[in-house]
């Protein structure tokens, strides 16, 4: 295998929050938020130079508290939202806010890393998402492919839909829904579906996955006992509108067709501990990335339930004759679901994995000890999918 070796970047602090810069489609850039109770927290902007295999970093101070979740605007490269812990002596409160990074960092900077670390810059606060009445913020979701004006946050058992006005300087709660039921219900995570005109979201609380319509703020489907234990994360198939992946504490990754929620379409059981993150590749939805507290990242090829179950459709003419013949045969043989690779570069629990928004063959994973690893899809598989 002449695959490029993984690139590893270490943060000083523990970290859980990772996101690609969604609005950026040229440069490979990830944002990482740190967790430290005793020091100023940071947001690291990681630029990856694919050609030279070099990482450039910029550090932004995030002084309000440790970051539990981070997400970036799909429209404005400079805008991001974080969920952070505000701690007082007796109380911990998770809040959310929308920020803008300094202009020169939006598209990356080529300052030397030493400089940037010495004079760290600060985020500009755009607005708070006022959650005093709603409880702890679990995550903030931007409307996919939107104009960056609509966000949804999950706070304890509430779904809050915000309108960002006055160039994001003001967040107005436009509608909300509360999940009622026995006991203390708490959303753990959610995703905004890119389908149906972005009118659906899915949320996870305890072992249940629920779908909501953002127009009426009503529940549209409910997968009871989706996992044996807590559901940790969800993701929508970007190319198949009813397909949803979920993962949780039962070490499983399940794929659902939301039209028929009684049984999963498929179940993966590759991890040996809780699965914290599951992500579909944005372009090739057979590629599934999962991160787990067994310190592993697994890349799976779920061809059978992808939008390209028979491989990429290519006319034979398009393949030049010199193209090796066996490659062609490979395409035609039936494709099977399989684990492509298990990445073991992490030493601690992996709480976040993300595909790059710019390069569909590249992904980053972040473990609790602050290690960020950037990996690529194996080249053989890449050509297999492309050709």
């Amino acid at each position: 295998m002449e695959d490029d070796a993984p690139v590893i970047y270490g943060l000083e602090f523990q970290a859980r929050a990772l996101t690609p810069q969604t609005a950026e489609t040229d440069a490979i850039r990830f944002l990482v938020g740190t967790q430290s109770l005793r020091y100023d927290n940071q947001i690291h902007i990681i630029d990856f130079d694919d050609e030279n295999n070099i990482i450039n970093k910029n550090v932004l101070l995030h002084q309000v508290g440790e970051i539990w979740h981070i997400s970036t605007s799909p429209a404005d490269k400079g805008v991001l939202a974080t969920c952070y812990n505000k701690t007082s002596d007796t109380k911990v409160m998770t809040c959310a806010a929308v920020w803008r990074m300094p202009k020169e960092l939006e598209s990356g900077s080529h300052e030397s890393p030493d400089d940037s670390s010495s004079n760290t810059q600060t985020l500009e606060l755009l607005c708070h998402l006022d959650n005093t009445a709603h409880g702890n913020m679990a995550c903030v979701m931007w409307e996919p492919m939107g104009d960056g004006k609509k966000i949804i946050s999950l706070a304890d058992n509430n779904i809050l839909l915000w309108d960002l006005q006055e160039s994001s300087a003001k967040a107005v709660l436009s509608s909300s829904a509360a999940l009622e039921g026995k006991g203390q219900l708490k959303f753990t995570s959610g995703r905004w579906s890119p389908h149906h005109n972005c009118t659906q979201i899915a949320t996870a609380n305890d072992t249940t996955v629920r779908g909501w319509d953002t127009r009426s703020m009503r529940q549209i489907y409910c997968i009871e006992n989706a996992h044996g234990q807590l559901v940790r994360d969800l993701d929508f198939n970007p190319n198949k509108q009813y397909y949803l992946a979920s993962c949780g504490d039962d070490c499983k990754v399940k794929f659902w067709d939301t039209r028929n929620v009684t049984d999963p379409v498929k179940t993966l059981e590759e991890h040996s501990h809780w699965v914290w993150n599951v992500r579909y590749n944005h372009s090739h939805d057979q590629l599934i990335l999962t991160g787990s507290s067994d310190s592993r990242v697994i890349l799976s090829n779920m061809v059978s339930i992808s939008s390209e179950p028979f491989g990429h459709m290519v006319d034979d003419d398009e393949l030049s004759d010199q193209e090796d013949q066996h490659q062609e045969e490979k395409i035609k043989e039936p494709l099977q679901d399989s684990v492509i690779a298990t990445y073991e570069e992490h030493e601690d629990s992996v709480y976040a994995v993300e595909w790059s928004s710019a390069d569909p063959w590249l992904f980053a994973s972040l473990s609790y000890d602050g290690r960020l690893v950037i990996n690529r899809v194996p080249r053989a598989l890449k050509y297999h999918i492309l050709l």
């Binding site: 044996g228 049984d263 040996s272 501990h273």
Partner: protein, 782 residues
């Protein structure tokens, strides 16, 4: 003598010509018979032929007196000549006397012959006269005889005529009586009437041009027609038993009714009768339910053996009899009979099959076997007539046997499920305090023994099908395929497979989605059961089966034992893993809830180990006991046994190498990470949900790993105050105290607890650890 005679002749010739002439006359007549003599003495002739003609040889045929004389005269001296002359003279004299003797003899004979002839002449003359007399007498006799016969002839002819008339009259008498007799017998003894008619028929036909005969013939015809009519009516209407039917048709045949039509009638009549028998059989069966098996039909009135018995004696017997008669009546052409019999036999089979289908329960297999056996035996006679039915019958028997085996399989499965139900009940039954319920080993032993016993019993039942005294056991199906496909594969292997599948089902199946999950103890029990199957039971069962049902060498392929064992082992592994997961999840859930619901910031200084930790230890101890009942201890990695008293190393300054060392000085967090990472480089990665081995230690280690890892992850999600950290510290030490002994490698426990402590310290706003002595004190007190 001849030579002498010839010499004599020559001598005479030489002696003088007159003598020679006289000699030639007499010599010629005398010499002629001598020719053959000479020829007889072939060699002399040959010599003569060889030697050149010697004219000097006095006895030779070419004797020339001149040459002889010249030669004698020129060659011989005088003395010799004289001597010669004297010798010749002697010879000539001797010859002369011989001739005279002969002449006399001949003459005497001639004379006596002449006398005889003369005498004969006289006798013949007498005889001629007597013959003439005889001829005259004979003529007289014949004349008178002719007269006598002429006189008697007339009378004789009249006598003969009278006798003829007498016979004729008798015959006529019989003929005249025919209609009467026919009439008399037609009613009571049609067979006799028929014989009578058959005798009279030809004559009547011959003389039908005579009006009186015609009248008789017509009359008898009418009677016979009536008889035929009556027979036909009888044939059509009455219920005849097969013998009567045969007689009836036979008579009709004699009446020259068309055979074609009759055979049809015969078959239809036979059909009616057989249908009736079938109907009688069918009446015993409950009405076919068109809507399916909506209601359970009441149990049949009679048992299967009885049914088959009646069926074979009534239906099969009749069918055989009728088929035999048909052949006798209508010849060997069975073109019509075969389809007829085949249809009926098929209906009979169908009925029997329906009856067999009623044998829902397990009933008495020996009864079924006997019934099938009888069926098969009885059918054999029929099959000689109907070779086409053999396959159908064999298939029927085979199917019934197969059906029964399938039913046994289902019964076994039901039995097993019942046993499982009992076990579940025993596990779930509330136990009065102080009184232990049946232990897991007892339950396992009971379950395994009863299942095995049941299986053996079933095998014994099924073996009846292949018993030596059962006729159909010699069918090739029962010798080969039945043993292998039905019993070994279809029953034994299928059951073991099903058992493994069912057991696995408890692990794979409904645990997550709704349905009541199996109690963990049951999982454990089943895991052990499957393991036992893999270890010994499967091979035992298969050996037993192969002994009782020896497989054919060329038979279909069989599932090898190892494959089954592998299945059982996989099931056992799956169950045990599932057990670990379930138990681990239960403990983990407890820990998670306890961490999530507590306010770690505002908590007060710890005085006690939290109750949940005690509960965890209790639960794990209980699990240890539970697992220990069924599984071996397993290997523990040797280490200091004294670790319970060891300091909780995270907080001690002097530490064993290879331990993670968080520092709580508010200085460099970087160092902590560095240390942590370096440590991890050298420690093994711990797989939390990983397959376990079949022993207690491994199982317990799995459960503890799952629990502690959960604790770790949960603590990481919280923010702790100082006392929160101290509480975690206390809890951790408590767990360390009580859990190490369960794990295969206490370093695993230690490592995970260290990580918990380190993470708690990280998540603490004011990380001031508690004094170790205080921690120990609290733990010992708690």
């Amino acid at each position: 003598m001849a030579a002498v005679t010839a010499g004599n002749g020559a001598g005479s010739g030489a002696g003088g010509s007159p003598e020679g002439t006289g000699g030639s006359t007499g010599g010629g007549g005398w010499r002629r018979p001598h020719g053959p003599l000479q020829r007889h003495y072939g060699p002399s002739t040959a010599e003569a032929a060889e030697a050149p003609p010697d004219p000097t040889d006095i006895n030779g045929p070419h004797f020339d007196p001149e040459v002889f004389m010249n030669k004698v005269r020129s060659e011989c001296p005088l003395g010799q000549l004289l001597a010669r002359e004297a010798a010749l003279g002697r010879e000539i004299r001797a010859l002369d006397s011989d001739m005279q003797t002969l002449l006399y003899e001949n003459y005497n004979k001639f004379i006596s012959a002449t006398d005889t002839i003369r005498k004969m002449k006289v006798d013949f003359r007498h005889m001629e006269a007597e013959m003439d007399d005889l001829a005259a007498n004979m003529a007289a006799i014949s004349a008178s005889s002719a007269r006598v016969s002429a006189a008697l002839q007339d009378r004789h002819r009249r006598g003969a005529q009278l006798a003829g008339v007498q016979a004729l009259l008798r015959k006529l008498q019989a003929l005249v009586e025919v209609p009467g007799r026919l009439r008399r017998w037609a009613g009571t003894e049609p067979a006799r009437a028929l014989r009578c008619h058959a005798r009279a028929r030809a004559v009547l036909r011959h003389y039908r041009h005579l009006p009186s005969f015609r009248a008789i013939e017509d009359e008898s015809h009418a009677i016979m027609a009536e008889l035929a009519q009556r027979l036909r009516t009888r044939l059509r209407e009455e219920k005849l038993d097969p013998k009567e039917l045969t007689e009836c048709v036979e008579m009709l045949l004699q009446l020259e009714e068309p055979a074609e039509e009759l055979s049809e009638e015969f078959l239809s009549q036979a059909g009616t009768r057989l249908e009736a028998e079938l109907a009688a059989l069918e009446a015993e069966l409950p009405a076919a339910d068109p809507s399916g098996v909506a209601t359970t039909p009441p149990p049949p009135a009679s048992d299967i053996l009885d049914f088959v018995d009646r069926g074979s004696s009534a239906f099969v017997g009749t069918l055989c009899q009728l088929a035999g008669s048909y052949r006798a009546l209508f010849g060997e052409d069975t073109g019509r009979l075969e389809p007829f019999a085949a249809t009926l036999a098929a209906r009979y089979f169908a009925l029997l099959e329906r009856r067999l289908a009623l044998e829902r329960g397990l009933g008495d297999t020996s009864l079924l076997v006997r019934a099938l056996d009888r069926f098969h035996r009885r059918l054999r006679t029929l099959l000689e007539l109907l070779p086409a039915g053999a396959d159908a019958a064999a298939t029927l028997v085979a199917r019934a046997a197969r059906e029964r085996v399938d039913r046994y399989l289902r019964a076994l499965q039901t039995f097993f499920l019942g046993c499982l139900g009992d076990v579940r009940q025993a596990l779930a039954a509330p136990r009065p305090p102080g009184k232990e319920g049946p232990g897991l080993p007892d339950l396992l032993a009971t379950l395994a023994a009863s299942v095995l016993g049941q299986l053996k019993a079933v095998l014994a039942y099924v073996q009846l099908f292949t018993a030596r005294d059962v006729a159909f056991a010699s069918l090739p199906y029962f010798k080969g395929e039945f043993c292998v496909t039905a019993v070994r594969e279809g029953l034994v292997v299928a059951f073991v497979r099903w058992l493994c599948r069912t057991a696995r089902g408890f692990a794979d199946g409904p645990a997550e989605r709704g349905a009541p999950a199996a109690p963990p103890a049951l999982l454990l029990l089943l895991a052990r059961l499957c393991l036992d199957y893999e270890n010994s039971t499967i091979s035992y069962i298969l050996t037993l089966t192969d002994e009782q049902f020896p497989p054919q060498d060329s038979g279909p392929a069989v599932t090898p034992g190892p494959a089954l064992c592998a299945e059982a082992r996989a099931a056992a592994q799956r169950l045990l893993d599932h057990y670990v997961q379930v138990q681990g999840a239960a403990v983990a859930q407890m820990l998670r809830k306890s961490v999530e619901t507590r306010d770690w910031l505002g908590t007060v200084e710890p005085r006690n180990v939290r109750a949940v930790m005690k509960r965890v230890v209790e639960d794990i101890t209980a699990i240890d006991v539970q697992v220990g009942q069924l599984f071996e201890e397993g290997v523990r990695r040797a280490q200091s046994s004294d670790s319970s008293r060891r300091a909780f190393s995270v907080y001690s300054s002097s530490r064993a190498p290879g331990r993670y060392a968080p520092s709580y000085t508010p200085s460099a967090p970087m160092d902590t990470h560095l240390l942590s990472n370096i440590q991890k480089l050298f420690s093994e990665r711990i797989d939390i949900f990983s397959p376990v081995e079949f022993n207690k230690v491994s199982v317990l280690t799995g459960i503890i790993k799952i629990s502690l890892k959960t604790l770790l992850e949960c603590v990481r999600l919280r923010t702790l105050g100082r006392f929160g950290l101290q509480q975690v510290q206390v809890d951790g030490h408590y767990l360390q105290l009580y859990l190490w002994r369960f794990a295969s490698d206490e370093r695993v426990v230690q490592g995970l607890l260290d990580e918990v402590a380190a993470s708690a310290a990280h998540r603490c706003l004011d990380p001031v650890p508690m004094e170790h002595s205080v921690v120990e004190l609290i733990c010992e007190r708690g």
